[in-house]
């Protein structure tokens, strides 16, 4: 408190009112963040140190759940490896293909709107339906793709039934639905000033150098956005690997029998599947919360690293 304010009760009261008014304006965000982010986060962190099966109140259990997940739970490390594989390969491929399609669509002379529709439409397909369709198309025994490959004399992969091919098959499915990124990249590409390309051409820059020195710097904030949202979405990758694994294995477990997720041989197991399996099928809520915390910390670490290296969402002009 300044000397002037301490001597002047009116000024002090006005500042207090200003603070309250600012707080009132901020209150919707504060309440929302507190209720829907900080409270669940704090509860998850607390539950990860407790024994809780949903029937009796949680009891403090120290580091037992953390020890169980990291040391004794055989599915954690394979699921973490799979999740990181998807983060590296799936996110990268989606960005490369999304950007390539965006450039293709804005540069074609004719049929741009048709291409835009064709490339965007798969993104609208419901994930379960799209996954079912892919499992059918890529069925090693009866699928049309393998029949075609057989006719051409090419090798016929096991796709969703082969541990070596299941992740590439899921990546193919994710890349097929890349329409959302394509549209974002298209909007960003159209925003690059044309005169910069003209100036670069006059300076003798070819297509590759124009892309590297003009296009990419302007796309940096969008690329960063795509990477961060892609990493977070992939950390939450659940529906497609679960449906693909269960349908391809032929074991749905609908009547109540538990089914181990991750078919074939744990190759499609992701951390969110473990959260559901432990938390809502085995009701080992403490261990499920450990994995949820690991996911949160990994997402935060990726986001912080990328924001730091990418200087946030600023463009070259900013």
């Amino acid at each position: 408190m300044t000397k002037a304010a301490s001597r002047n009760p009116g000024l002090r009261s006005r500042r207090r009112r200003e603070r309250l008014r600012n707080l009132a304006f901020l209150s919707p965000w504060l309440i929302g963040t507190g209720l829907f982010f900080l409270y669940p986060l704090a509860t998850t962190a607390w539950l990860s140190f407790t024994r809780y099966d949903g029937f009796v109140s949680p009891t403090w259990d120290g580091l037992d759940n953390w020890r169980f997940v990291f040391r004794d739970y055989p599915f954690f490390w394979p699921a973490l490896r799979n999740t990181l594989w998807f983060v590296l390969v799936l996110v990268t491929l989606r960005i490369v293909v999304g950007l390539s399609l965006g450039m293709l669509v804005i540069n074609v002379k004719r049929g741009s709107s048709v291409l835009r529709t064709v490339f965007y439409a798969p993104f609208l397909a419901p994930p379960v339906a799209a996954t079912l369709a892919f499992v059918f198309l890529l069925n090693p025994g009866t699928g049309p793709l393998n029949s075609l490959l057989g006719h051409l004399g090419l090798p016929q992969p096991g796709w969703f039934n082969d541990p070596a091919w299941s992740k590439p098959a899921l990546t193919l499915l994710a890349v097929w639905g890349v329409g959302d990124l394509m549209v974002i990249f298209m909007a960003s590409l159209l925003d690059v000033p044309r005169e910069l390309y003209e100036a670069a051409s006059l300076d003798g820059a070819g297509a590759v150098r124009r892309f590297r020195h003009v296009t990419l710097p302007h796309l940096r904030p969008i690329l960063l956005f795509a990477v961060i949202t892609g990493v977070i979405a992939t950390m939450q990758y659940y529906t497609e690997p679960l449906v693909a694994g269960q349908v391809a294995s032929g074991q749905i477990g609908g009547s109540g029998q538990q089914v181990q997720p991750g078919y074939p041989a744990g190759s499609t197991l992701t951390l969110p599947q473990l959260v559901y399996n432990l938390g809502f099928q085995r009701f080992d809520i403490g261990a499920a919360c450990v994995i949820a915390m690991v996911l949160f910390l990994l997402s935060m670490a990726f986001a912080a690293l990328l924001m730091r290296r990418g200087s946030g969402f600023l463009t070259v002009e900013d």
């Binding site: 029937f55 004794d72 055989p74 069925n139 025994g141 039934n161 109540g256 538990q258 809502f280 099928q281």
Partner: protein, 447 residues
């Protein structure tokens, strides 16, 4: 009216405490059920079950109608198509919509229901009603509905497993009748297999663990294994029968063409519970399956000319031919129910009334689950169905025991099976040692 600020604060504190207490009670459920309700009062109880096919729903509704006629003061609101995930979540959530009586298609979670006290112990209710469980229910059915002497559920019809075989395929292969020992079975499976390029036009038997009911626990029942020691720790690393079951399956996989070839063929099969079931389409000549399959084949008008028999036994146990794996639907009373006496009247009718059990069993092609109903002349006398009645009544038939963390140990054994059949796990004993350690660790984590 003016109030002292301290009094106001105290009142606010009390209100807050009461609200928190109520909220916590709602979150964690009541800690004690108790059966203090008047069974003669006019009440409506909620019954959750898993049946969803129109014929099954009609059959359970007919049973409910008969109960309501006999007990006019108790009304039953049935909710169908319920899975164990929903049951588990609802029992924890509690509330006015939570069920009073719950049935589950699987016995896997009985240990969890009992040890967590999600279902009340039915022993006091049976004593009150003069029901002796040991004479009313067969021993196997009684064992899979209790955990650690807590009889928290009762059997509501059973499932018995046997061998279905394609009579036409047998005749074409020159096989006179169903095999009784596993060496005969293996020879028949090879004889019935027809190669076609790098796949099959007909497979004698599909032993892969991802195929329908070909699980390690269903196979291992023919060796009558002991999964747990008396102290509750895993016995899978020491049980010679279980090890022999894994080895038999792996040998058969190799005899029939190997894991990769079989798996590729398996991907061409339709869904187990559809008309495209591989046995019903003729792609596989023999399967291990429950008694319900006969009803499904008949309902589907499939052209498969089938026969049924007990599943073969190991050669050294030929005298025990006729046994098999037993499981079934279970029913219990939710701890959170405030109408437990009325709920018991309904459970008693469903599980111990011979007419009700026989009629329901006949209607949905399941095996009855009481000693009296199994012997009843009113039970479906079709020879195929009677095969399963005999398997269910066989003293050497067995089941998978209850465990406090549900069917987790069975999944661990299945995982070992996947690794062993595919060649990923070469040393079976080392795999069984690892499985035993994992089962014990998982149980310790759940307690």
């Amino acid at each position: 009216m003016t109030r002292h600020p301290r009094l106001r604060r105290r009142l606010a504190g009390c209100a807050l405490s009461a609200t928190l207490a109520l909220a916590l009670t709602a979150c964690f459920g009541s800690s004690q059920g108790g059966a203090k309700d008047n069974p003669n009062a006019d009440v409506t109880i909620t019954f959750w079950h898993g049946w969803s096919a129109p014929s099954e729903v009609a059959a359970i509704q007919a049973t409910i109608d008969a109960f309501e006629k006999a007990n006019p003061n108790i009304h039953v609101k049935a909710v169908g198509n319920i899975t164990d995930d929903k049951i588990n979540q609802a029992l924890r959530a509690g509330g006015s919509s939570a069920p009073d009586v719950v049935s589950s298609f699987t016995t896997d979670n009985v240990g969890e229901f009992c040890s967590s006290h999600a279902f009340v112990d039915l022993t006091p209710f049976m004593e009150k009603s003069g029901i002796d469980p040991t004479t009313t229910f067969p021993a196997t059915q009684l064992s899979y509905t209790q955990y650690n002497h807590d009889q928290c559920a009762l059997p509501l019809l059973s499932d018995a497993y046997g061998l279905y075989y394609n009579k036409d395929a047998f005749a074409a292969a020159g096989i006179s009748g169903p095999p009784k020992t596993l060496s005969e079975f293996d020879a028949d499976a090879v004889k019935l297999t027809r190669q076609s390029g790098d796949t099959y036009s007909q497979l004698g038997f599909m032993p892969d663990y991802h195929f329908y009911e070909s699980t390690i626990t269903h196979f291992a029942a023919q060796w009558s294994p002991t999964y747990f020691s008396p102290d509750g720790t895993s016995n899978v690393a020491n049980d010679a029968g279980l090890k022999a079951a894994y080895e038999w399956q792996k040998n058969l996989v190799d005899k029939l063409g190997g894991y990769s070839r079989l798996e590729k063929y398996r991907t061409s099969f339709g869904d187990e519970f559809s008309n495209n079931n591989a046995f019903m389409t003729g792609q596989v000549a023999m399967i291990i399956d429950g008694e319900w399959r006969a009803g499904m084949i008949n309902d589907s008008h499939s052209k498969v000319n089938y026969g049924v028999a007990p599943f073969p036994v190991p050669d050294a146990m030929a005298a025990q031919y006729g046994k098999g794996y037993i499981t079934g639907t279970i029913v219990g009373i939710a701890r959170t129910s405030s109408k437990q006496n009325a709920a018991w009247e309904f459970v008693k009718y469903l599980t111990a009334n011979t007419d009700a059990v026989v009629n329901f069993a006949n209607a949905i092609n399941n095996v009855p689950s009481t000693t009296a109903a199994l012997a009843s002349p009113q039970v479906n006398q079709d020879p195929s169905f009677q095969t399963f009645i005999k398997v269910a009544s066989d003293a050497d038939s067995s089941t998978t025991p209850s465990s406090p963390n549900g069917g987790a140990y069975q999944l661990t054994l299945q995982d070992l099976g996947y690794a062993y059949e595919s060649g990923k796990q070469g040393d079976l004993q080392s795999g069984l040692d690892g499985a035993a350690h994992q089962i014990d660790t998982d149980i310790a984590q759940s307690q």
